[in-house]
């Protein structure tokens, strides 16, 4: 079944098409949820909310841009809404967590999935969210400030602090090549 056929099926609320779409894209969208939300169960809740929104609003997708990109934006928004309900992005938190990376013997330019999660989970929610939006999603500080309702300077400082903290942790965990 092509992507267009899948989308058409979902527009008709065809359950088989919905399930196929879910099977195809849930791993990548769940990966996004896990980057933003610390706990596995919460990440799954965000994924379900995201997919529900995708299926409910699929008629609004005009087919002009990438469908996967459209879905990713919905899931990122859903993750941010989840975080906003629980976190004030204007408050910064000091980091005291200890990190024990699983795969210390990995080569320098590779990070294992559990290491990425372990590293991200040590960052306070604000740092982690700004880091994700800037580094992976590619937003500018001005856009992040609007999205999270914080100042541009807060966004910048949280990114710098996140980077510094991650560098320290990686060096301690024998990833010396990281700059």
């Amino acid at each position: 079944m092509t992507e267009k056929e899948l989308i058409d099926g979902c527009r008709r609320e065809d359950r088989m098409a919905q399930q196929l779409l879910y099977e195809k894209y849930s791993p990548v969208l769940f990966g996004i949820c896990r980057r933003y939300v610390k706990h596995h169960e919460d990440a799954e809740d965000v994924l379900i909310d995201g997919f529900f929104k995708i299926f409910s609003n699929i008629k609004q997708y005009k087919g002009s841009g990438s469908f996967e990109g459209w879905m990713k934006r919905i899931v990122v928004n859903e993750a941010l809404m989840f975080l906003r309900r629980r976190h004030n992005f204007n408050l910064t938190v000091e980091i005291n967590d200890q990190l024990d990376l699983h795969s210390a013997a990995k080569i320098e330019d590779e990070l294992a999935a559990q290491d990425i999660l372990a590293l991200l989970s040590t960052l306070p929610t604000g740092y982690r969210t700004v880091f994700n939006l800037y580094v992976v999603e590619g937003f500018k500080h001005r856009e992040i400030a609007e999205i999270l309702d914080i100042s541009i300077n807060t966004s910048k400082s949280q990114l710098i602090l996140a980077k510094k903290r991650l560098q320290e942790l990686l060096k301690k965990s024998r990833y010396p090549g990281v700059g």
């Binding site: 879910y22 849930s26 791993p27 990966g31 980057r35 330019d109 990070l111 999935a113 559990q114 880091f131």
Partner: protein
């Protein structure tokens, strides 16, 4: 010379590794939510429609009354012997719209009365992607459904290496072995098999120290994933094996409910690759066979 890599690039290049299939329960929860939404959507639609239907019924009653009055006045005219003027019929938009409403009401009432249309004789229901074990054993296509398991899978290049091997032996049996190696030394070995026993499809696991094998029953099978369950054991009660369609085989060991784990149970999980909050996950890459 050491390769100096920016931390942003490091995360960007590796973030795809977080891609993971959510638990089968996630789809069931989403499906329930979609079903509820559909029901609510219908009843919300039904409310204004009920009003339209009431107006239509009222209009029909008024028309019948008017018709009867008209007939009695016609009879009076006939008695009086006066000529009846010829009425000019003009097509009216209002009438067309009213007809549409009546037609739509009829269709909607039929839909409520017969929500599931049976279709023509001989038509069959098409099974969804998830199959029950009864369907599977009836079809006898177990091994075909699990062919993606065949081969050697491994992870780790350093001191420790996890290896899993699966191969088909006979018509209804797949045999596997899971190993955790440190150099040449075997730290942990687990024997596995998936086979048909009577009407059941079972997964058997046992280590050299186990007195007897632990048996899990196939509970669900989806597209390139399978769920085995045994709710009588302490841990893991569910084993989910899934293939990402490219190169990664993931095996998730978990309980449907969270539990207070003993040291033994924690060790069991740590012998797998990753420990993520009371779940153990083993992710292995396919080792190309000689023919590939």
């Amino acid at each position: 010379m050491k390769h100096h890599k920016d931390i942003f690039d490091l995360f960007r290049d590796n973030q795809h590794k977080l891609n993971e299939r959510p638990s089968p329960e996630a789809w069931r929860r989403l499906e329930r939510r979609l079903d509820n939404h559909r029901v609510r959507h219908r009843s919300a639609f039904q409310q204004p429609f009920g009003m339209v239907a009431a107006i239509v019924v009222l209009a029909v009653l008024v028309s019948i009354l008017a018709f009867m009055l008209d007939r009695s006045s016609s009879r009076l005219l006939a008695v009086n012997g006066q000529p009846i003027p010829v009425e000019n019929l003009i097509q009216s938009d209002v009438d067309v719209e009213a007809l549409k409403v009546v037609e739509f009401t009829k269709q909607y009432q039929e839909e409520i009365a017969y929500p599931i249309r049976e279709g023509s004789q001989g038509r069959k229901l098409i099974p969804t992607a998830t199959k029950t074990k009864a369907q599977l054993s009836a079809k006898g296509d177990l091994l075909l459904q699990l062919d993606w398991l065949n081969g050697t899978w491994q992870e780790g290049n350093g001191a420790k290496k996890s290896v899993e091997q699966w191969k088909r032996v006979g018509k209804n049996k797949l045999e596997g072995k899971g190993l955790l190696l440190q150099g040449e030394q075997v730290l942990f070995e687990e024997n596995l098999s998936i086979q048909s026993v009577g009407k059941d499809i079972i997964l058997k696991t046992y280590t050299n120290t186990d007195k007897k094998a632990t048996v899990y029953n196939l509970s669900q099978l989806g597209y390139q994933w399978v769920l085995f369950e045994n709710l009588e054991v302490d841990f893991p009660q569910q084993i989910i094996i899934q293939f990402d369609g490219k190169e990664t085989l993931s095996t998730l060991y978990q309980n449907p409910q969270l539990l207070n784990m003993s040291r033994y149970q924690l060790e069991y999980m740590q012998q797998r690759n990753q420990l993520v909050r009371q779940r153990a996950l083993r992710q292995l890459k396919k080792v190309p066979s000689k023919g590939e």
